[in-house]
Amino acid sequence: MKYLDYSLTEIIDLLNSGQVTSQELVRECFDRIKETQDLNALNSTYFDEAMKRAGEIDAARARGENVGALGGVPVVLKDNINYLGTRTTCASKFLENFVSPYTATCASKLHDAGAVIIAKANMDEFAMGSSNENSAFGAVRNPVDTSRVPGGSSGGSACTVAARQCFASLGTDTGGSIREPASFCGVVGIKPTYGRVSRYGVVAFASSLDQVGPLTRTVKDNALMLNVIAGADDMDMTASKVAVPDYLADIDKGVKGLKIGVAKQFFSDKLSGDVRTALEQAIEWYKEAGAEIVTVDLPSLDTALAVYYVISSAEAASNLARFDGVKYGVRAENYADVVDLYFKSRTQGFGKEVKRRIMLGNYVLSSGYYDAFYRKAKRVQKVIRNEFSEALKMCDCLISPTTATTAFKLGEKSGDHVAMYLTDIFTVPVNIASVPAISLPCGKDGQGLPIGMQLIGKHFDEATLYRVANAFETAHKEDK
């Protein structure tokens, strides 16, 4: 490996100064992908297309043309992001052969900025899961310890970046699906404010909670990626028109004078000793670096997981109803009539976890239960949102662990849904409150597994998160 140890920001400098070509990078990525294919991080790769595109960008750069902020950099998309002409499977048997007839806004923004899309990353089926074991194409392995899960649902996206198969990837996060795998694999992942990145072309899981975000090896890389993909979109009414700042502009300003909030609800007894220690050290470091640590209260944090499973499952049940075997995807053979066609196609096409959520979602929306579940969950969501905005009035961001433990073993929780769901206990409230949060490495546990810390920001204040995260990362570079 010659170039893949460089960060995205560094490699762009090398590309711009002519020390490396995009084609060389693509070739190295594919060598590395081959070398590490046991990780099962990717569902499809596009070597020929990527080489062709890299060649075009190299030529354009040689002619002195503007090749964009990511000109020539190999990146990977999660396999629920449409990119014209590529398979978009959502790691589901149902969409095994589905070829995108159009391109998602976030992917076209990457493309327009010169990125070379080289592959689609494995994931939990339809983004439902916390371990990437729910993929129809097999589990992804954690590159730090291949006996362990990479986290999910963007497990492939985290793995491919951590394993140095590419320089950056996109994931999606509905309840922690970017941050939890980032934490487990030791990379940086942000779940931007709901509405910061267009969802157009990203296969929906829970439309009111889904957000696209980058996974990278450094905070600055992440800010650069968000610079490219954030912004309003005429194709997505929920994409915000709030102006997108340059996330790199203030990233080196340090934390002096900033207030960082600590809520006791994030530091419950569920926390493993190593995680607690790492977080306490991080908080201590911030204090020494000039930040003021304030105590805040999030009394309803415990309810977030229940709220999440009601709302996300309800939306998922409706969103996934279009997978009916009529228009695209898998159609069962030997059906008696149209109802039988639906029944068999969906029975054969969906995995267990997806079916579980569909049933849960239809249940909470059904007549007679709607008020008790869906409507109540939406009401509690408001309470949680208010608590977050109150807490964030007292500080510039909150700090918490991303997960209570480090990466667990493959198969360890697959029989126990509740234990699996509890993995997301610190990340889910962020989606419910629709605020942004970043996960970045903050040390390792006794087994050398990465620990992640989560910084939670105000609506559309990703810039502060990057600034606070970058300060920590810069000071702890040698620890890596």
Binding site: N82, P101, A321
Partner: protein, 472 residues
């Protein structure tokens, strides 16, 4: 004790926007299947709806025309059910917070009394695609999928099939006045569902059934009559009415059970998270109100001021196309009563021979104006005018030239007419005697004879004068 029928109507009307409700595809009828489609309206994974403001504006326009209150805040919800023509497996509709509420329409009954039919709501939603059944199997055309619809829901204020049809006619007329829908029943751009129940005087409302597949006013009329009789017969035989959806079979003239309440769908409505709540300001609503075209009642008042009778004014304003045509003719020939008489007699005769959807005035206003001027000026007589009108209706033009080419110029030459009539008077002593005896009706005989003798060109007024003179 006598029976009451209670009827409420749900009318779906496609809005004539340029593009679909939630994507940029063309909203057009009759194109090759699946050509007006995109990832959004074919429910490709990841596609998202974006609300067409024009559809909102048209829905509000209709709401204002029928006196609805426009809600500043309304919400699109998903109505979830599986059907092959519904590609997302949910329809974007409105339930808890519709765009327009209240309002109503005044209908006129046969006996001239008026009745106000209240509206419950008008909400905005999207249409589904269309299944095409063929020898090769069932195929789906998604061209119609995502076309904007308004659903106009009445209160159960109608008590007979005739009232229901009068309401539908008024509603259709209003939609056409406002110009938000083309209301073509054959193309399905306006569709009706009927809710109907019966009860005895003084007793609470009965169990209702819903009638589907009503594609014409005639079908509505017959279906309601059939269904209310059916319900009365069931109840009189001691059988309860089952709450159910029934399908009207137009050929057999009967309704058939489709599904009962027990196996009816649970639509699991919830707010569509892809669409932010629709907020419209009062300023916006007022800016739409300013675009409301002149509606029938206002035109009736204006026409009466021009000298039309109320009855004529009501007749000519029953459809916007007729009233517009009337005003256009007047812009060339400002004789309101004269023009109106021709339209309500001759034009309506032509139109009534056509199916409702096909009723289109095919004469150019300018041509009709010119013809009527010739008629009024005595250049042609009524028979000649009718002949020219027939030609104009079938695509002819330039009435003055038609007068020449068809040889219809009225004979106004007193000398020549006297010559003709002298012979007729001489040949018909019996008729002369009757006329002399004061039987004015006999004059028609002389006019008829004169017409025959002049190939219909004689000026009938002049004929009368000359005959009177001759028999003196």
């Amino acid at each position: 004790m006598s029976w009451n029928t209670v009827i409420g109507l749900e009318v779906h009307s496609e809005l004539n926007t340029r593009t679909k409700c939630f994507c940029g595809c063309k909203n057009e009828f009759g194109n090759k299947p699946n050509t007006n489609c995109c990832p959004v309206c074919t429910a490709m994974p990841g596609a998202l709806p974006v609300l067409n403001r024009d559809a909102v504006e048209r829905a509000i326009l209709m709401g204002l025309a029928v006196g609805c209150r426009i809600n500043n805040y309304s919400v699109f919800e998903r109505k979830n059910y599986f059907y092959p023509d519904l590609c997302k497996a949910y329809q974007i509709s409105q339930l808890e917070y519709p765009l327009c509420v209240g309002g109503g329409l005044e209908i006129e009954l046969e006996d001239g009394t008026k009745k106000f039919i209240r509206l419950n709501r008008i909400h905005l939603e999207e249409d589904a695609g269309k299944l095409i059944h063929s020898a090769r199997g069932t195929m789906i055309d998604y061209n119609r999928g995502g076309v904007p619809l308004i659903e106009i829901v009445s209160e159960p204020d109608m008590s007979s099939a005739e009232e229901a049809v009068a309401y539908l006619e008024k509603l259709r007329s209003t939609l056409l006045y406002v110009g938000v829908s083309d209301c073509k029943m054959q193309e399905g751009s306006i569709r009706f569902d009927v809710n109907i129940s019966v009860n005895r005087d003084g007793e609470p409302l009965g169990t209702r059934t819903e009638l589907k597949n009503l594609n014409s006013f005639r079908a509505v009329l017959r279906a309601i009559k059939y269904e209310s009789n059916r319900q009365i017969e069931e109840l009189e035989a001691g059988h309860p009415i089952i709450q159910e959806t029934r399908r009207w079979d137009d050929e057999k003239g009967k309704t058939y059970s489709m599904r009962t309440k027990e196996d009816s769908q649970d639509y699991r409505y919830f707010p569509d998270p892809d669409l932010i709540p629709l907020e419209v300001t009062n300023e916006y609503i007022e800016s739409i109100r300013a675009k409301l075209p002149k509606l029938a009642p206002q035109r009736v008042t204006e026409y009466i001021a021009m000298g039309l009778t109320e009855q004529d004014a009501l007749l000519i304003t029953q459809e916007r196309a007729y009233a517009d045509f009337f005003e256009n003719v007047l812009s060339y020939f400002n004789e309101p009563k004269f023009v109106c008489n021709w339209i309500t007699a001759e034009v309506f005769k032509k139109l009534n021979a056509l199916e409702v959807d096909d009723r289109k005035i095919t004469v150019q206003p300018k041509d009709l104006a010119e013809m009527l001027r010739l008629y009024k000026d005595g250049e042609i007589n009524q028979a000649g005018a009718r002949k020219i009108f027939d030609v104009l209706w079938d695509g002819g033009t330039e009435p003055s030239k038609l007068v020449e080419s068809l040889g219809l110029k009225q004979m106004n030459d007193t000398g020549a007419l006297t010559e003709v009539l002298q012979k007729i008077v001489a040949d018909n002593p019996k008729a002369v005697a009757e006329l002399k005896a004061g039987n004015e009706k006999t004059m028609a005989f002389f006019v008829g004879q004169a017409m025959r003798a002049t190939q219909g060109k004689a000026n009938p007024k002049l004929v009368g004068e000359i005959v009177k003179e001759l028999i003196k």
